[in-house]
């Protein structure tokens, strides 16, 4: 029951992973790049940002869904990030042994008990026609829009399918079509914390018996004229246009904002008994989840880090662990002045004087927004597997005001059993999960 010990609940494990991100289109390639401290950042090519305050990003490069599926037809209508999600789900399902190749799958998974939980972002409008329709319908002198004219242009220039596919719940439909899933299919969009939340709540779906297997993670691309504009206006993005590749530098004394990325991370979560029954290889166990709200301001984190602290403590309690049992923290670590400072405070409040190693893979990968958490959880699973803490790329000069053990530049061998993954969203929604080496 509610407050009692939770030893009788179902154990949840990870049996498949897939990723598409600025560092590559499969887990092995991405992990190698993360360990090498490589950078996924470069000039923006998706649109002409040559006069923007920020002219660089971390883009997925050379991606073609047709390389992942024999017949990708149903998914080529999906928005940019949705196609990343389908490709990542293909990888994750194949690793987990979920049959996506035949219409009558014989993988032993009841489709009604196969769920989906995605932190999937919205797509983008067709920007060229979008701006043009506004420009042609706006009367600057009177400050009014000619809606009749706008409607005519918009209805003529926008495509019905493309418009529908921008909705945040559509990637879930694509994953259902891909896998035949008939279980719960939820989407959440808690900003930069979304896919960590999706993984956490997916674990809860399995624990509570609402599903046996859940395809969980996220996808997002805000690299379009309105997305980059929005973050630029918030002054959240790095403007180190002189050197894009080192601009993402979490915890550095010279950090000046995050580098916007894009991509998808998908995990197959499964009850341990289901994985055993199917003979699926267990990659790691997911043992704790905590969520909280700052309830402070939509523009700033609370100065004490109380929201992140509460989420971390909730995850520890859920896992039945003390802070001394966490071997490594995979930080939210965005590289904004505020996040890295408050996150440091929060970690110290929970972990006291103990110097638990901390790093952020956003230095290499950039910030995948809603997809960030899932992509980073995948890195945590690889860290458990290789017993290596991934480094924070570009961290040459730790901010003198920050005093944790931030693992810089090169991977660090360590005995890793429990890893804590943190994600904090704009507006104050915080999510933390704890994964465990499977033995």
């Amino acid at each position: 029951m509610a407050q009692g010990p939770r030893q009788h609940r179902r154990r949840v494990v990870i049996t498949g992973m897939g990723i598409v991100c600025p560092l590559g289109h499969d887990v092995a390639t991405v992990w190698k790049a993360v360990l090498a401290g490589a950078s996924g950042a470069d000039w923006i090519t998706i649109f002409d940002a040559s006069t923007y305050p920020t002219k660089f990003d971390a883009e997925v490069k050379g991606f073609d869904l047709r390389g992942f599926l024999a017949d990708p037809t149903a998914h080529l209508t999906g928005n940019r990030a949705c196609q990343f999600a389908v490709a990542a789900a293909v990888q994750a399902c194949r690793q987990a042994g979920i049959d996506i190749e035949t219409n009558d799958p014989r993988d032993g998974i009841d489709r009604k008990r196969l769920g989906i939980y995605l932190g999937s972002g919205e797509g983008s409008v067709d920007n060229k026609t979008f701006f043009s329709a506004i420009a042609q319908s706006w009367d600057q002198d009177s400050g009014t829009m000619d809606w009749v004219r706008w409607a005519r242009i918009a209805l003529e220039s926008q495509d019905p399918v493309n418009t529908r596919e921008q909705e945040p719940h559509m990637p879930s439909w694509h994953i259902a079509v891909l896998t035949g899933a008939r279980g719960p299919a939820r989407s959440c969009l808690t900003a930069c914390a979304a896919s960590t939340q999706a993984v956490g709540e997916a674990m809860m779906m399995i624990r509570s018996g609402r599903a046996d297997v859940v395809i969980a993670g996220g996808c997002h691309s805000m690299i379009h004229p309105m997305g980059v504009m929005g973050f630029n206006r918030l002054t959240a993005l790095s403007t180190k246009n002189e050197d894009p590749r080192t601009a993402s530098r979490p915890f550095s004394g010279t950090r000046d904002g995050f580098v916007i990325g894009e991509g998808a991370g998908i995990l197959v979560l499964e009850s341990l008994e289901s994985a055993r029954r199917r003979g699926a290889r267990v990659l790691a166990e997911i043992v704790g989840y905590g969520t909280s709200a700052d309830a402070f301001r939509v523009t700033d984190m609370h100065e004490t880090g109380r929201g992140p602290i509460q989420a971390m403590q909730a995850a520890l309690k859920d896992a039945g662990l003390g802070p001394e049992q966490i071997d490594y923290i995979n930080a939210h670590g965005t590289g904004t002045i505020e996040n890295d400072q408050i996150e440091t405070l929060a970690i110290k409040a929970v972990f006291g004087d103990r110097r638990v190693p901390v790093s952020s893979v956003k230095g290499a990968m950039g910030h995948l927004i809603a997809a960030a958490g899932a992509a980073e959880i995948i890195c945590c699973v690889m860290a458990l597997q290789d017993q290596l803490i991934p480094p924070t790329a570009n961290l040459y000069d730790v901010d003198s005001r920050l005093d944790l053990d931030y693992v810089p530049l090169r991977p660090r061998p360590a005995r890793l059993v429990h890893i804590m993954k943190e994600s904090f969203g704009f507006g104050g929604q915080n999510n933390v999960v704890i994964i465990k080496r499977y033995q």
């Binding site: 209805l155 299919a185 969009l189 808690t190 939509v298």
Partner: protein, 439 residues
């Protein structure tokens, strides 16, 4: 499933039928139609000219003094959510810092929020001056936009459009520091939020979750999208009252609208402990999804709706004969009506002949992420008052439709009400609420 029971102890609604849950119920009983010609903008360029609009309101009246400045960061979706949240909290007897900072009786870390939200539409008038300042040789110029135009966009612009900001503002206003999620599953969002909120309480992670959904769909962007997809009725404005005809032979499409519906979900032990008035209990929830590549919404047999209902039965330990009233999604899009009816009939079998079915969108319109939540609120009123009004705009049921739509008012005890919903991405959800039966 977990065994902590969850009840509903507060309601708040803003809808085309008025600025409170009571006003909505009164409007429904009177058979008053909240649908009319669009006044928010000139709709004459669109094939659909109708909507369910919320009457004028003053947002400041719903905000504590200390938070009134933040109103400028609120899109209409956020405003509606904030208003409904204020009323839901007040009606529950819980005292948050917004209601009376001197007599707060909640424990903020144990209070959370789970709020369904839509894709918030860009206010084109707000960005039009920036677009107008980016014109070169009569056309939109991305270089000028990047260097000059976008400087005219308010710095915090993006924060109005992140779908998680509904939950964030509400949690700030009422100091809800517990679990927080923003579900973005289009028209099932409100139901998923209640399902998840209930599970969060059931597993002991919170005592109270403010759950529901909000969305403002009366704007040119939504109208463009829904008209392009052929889901919006082209009924002439003079026929507004009879335009939305769920399950009728003459159904011609949905009418879109705006609303917010929030419920205070509370652990039964917590509610009993404080002597709260218990309105209803959440007895069971179920979710499923469609998986056919051929149609991007429900399949013709409504399988997702059927499975969601079956799962809700299983969760509640109930069957078709235990249900006294069905509130369907009933969009009045002919194909969707047919598929939903098939799904409901599939779940109920022969028992469908004896259960009244009450579609509400003929009066309330299709309010997206709020739709399922305001239907649940209507269901709570039906339970509390033991009556429902006659369904409107059903003159001749669809051929072959076996749903017993209530063409007359019914006055009798409703012990258990089933609410179902689905999206144009094929996700479906069902929630069973029941008359409180005591501890």
């Amino acid at each position: 499933m977990d065994d902590r029971r969850v009840v509903i102890t507060g309601l708040g609604a803003v809808s085309p039928l008025g600025l409170s849950a009571d006003a909505m119920w009164k409007g429904l009983l009177e058979g008053r139609c909240g649908i009319g010609p669009i006044t928010a903008f000139d709709p004459s360029g669109f094939p659909c000219k109708l909507a369910g609009q919320v009457e004028p309101y003053r947002i400041q009246e719903f905000l504590p003094k200390a938070y009134r400045k933040a109103a400028k960061l609120m899109s209409r979706d956020i405003e509606l959510a904030v208003m409904a949240a204020d009323m839901a909290m007040r009606s529950s007897g819980l005292v948050t810092r917004a209601i009376d900072p001197e007599h707060v009786n909640i424990d903020p870390p144990r209070f959370g929020i789970n709020l369904g939200a839509g894709l918030i539409s860009c206010d084109l008038v707000e960005i039009a001056p920036a677009v107008a300042a980016s014109i070169v040789d009569g056309g939109f110029d991305i270089h000028k936009w990047g260097s000059e135009g976008m400087q005219l966009v308010p710095p915090l612009w993006l924060l109005k459009y992140l779908p998680n900001m509904l939950a964030c503002h509400v949690s700030i206003i009422h100091d809800l520091q517990g679990p927080s999620n923003s579900i973005t599953s289009a028209e099932v969002s409100g139901a998923c939020a209640v399902a998840e909120g209930r599970d969060v309480i059931a597993r002991g992670d919170a005592d109270v979750i403010l759950a529901g959904g909000a969305e403002a769909k009366v704007n040119p962007m939504v109208m463009m999208s829904q008209c392009l997809q052929g889901r919006a009725t082209t009924c002439p404005p003079e026929d507004a009252q009879i335009a939305c005809r769920p399950f009728d032979q003459a159904a011609s499409g949905s009418v879109f609208g705006e609303a917010a519906g929030l419920m205070v979900l509370e652990a039964l032990d917590h509610a009993v402990g404080r002597g709260a008035r218990i309105l209803a209990e959440v007895l069971g929830t179920g979710e499923s999804c469609s998986a056919s590549a051929r149609v991007p919404g429900l399949e013709p047999d409504g399988a997702a709706v059927r499975i969601a209902i079956e799962k809700a039965f299983e969760d509640a330990g109930l069957g078709p004969t235990d249900i006294d009233l069905i509130i369907p999604h009933g969009t009045a899009v002919p194909y969707e009506d047919q598929a939903e009816a098939a799904g409901i009939e599939g779940a109920f079998g022969v028992h469908i002949e004896r259960v009244p079915v009450w579609p509400t969108k003929s009066l309330l319109s299709n309010t997206g992420a709020a739709a399922a939540a305001i239907d649940m609120i209507a269901g709570v009123y039906a339970i509390v008052h033991g009556m429902i009004p006659a369904a409107r705009n059903l003159d001749r049921p669809r051929e072959g439709c076996r749903l017993q739509i209530n063409t007359r008012p019914i006055a009798r005890p409703f012990r258990r009400v089933l609410c179902c919903c689905f999206t144009f991405g094929g996700q479906a959800a069902a929630v069973i609420i029941g008359r409180p039966t005591g501890g």
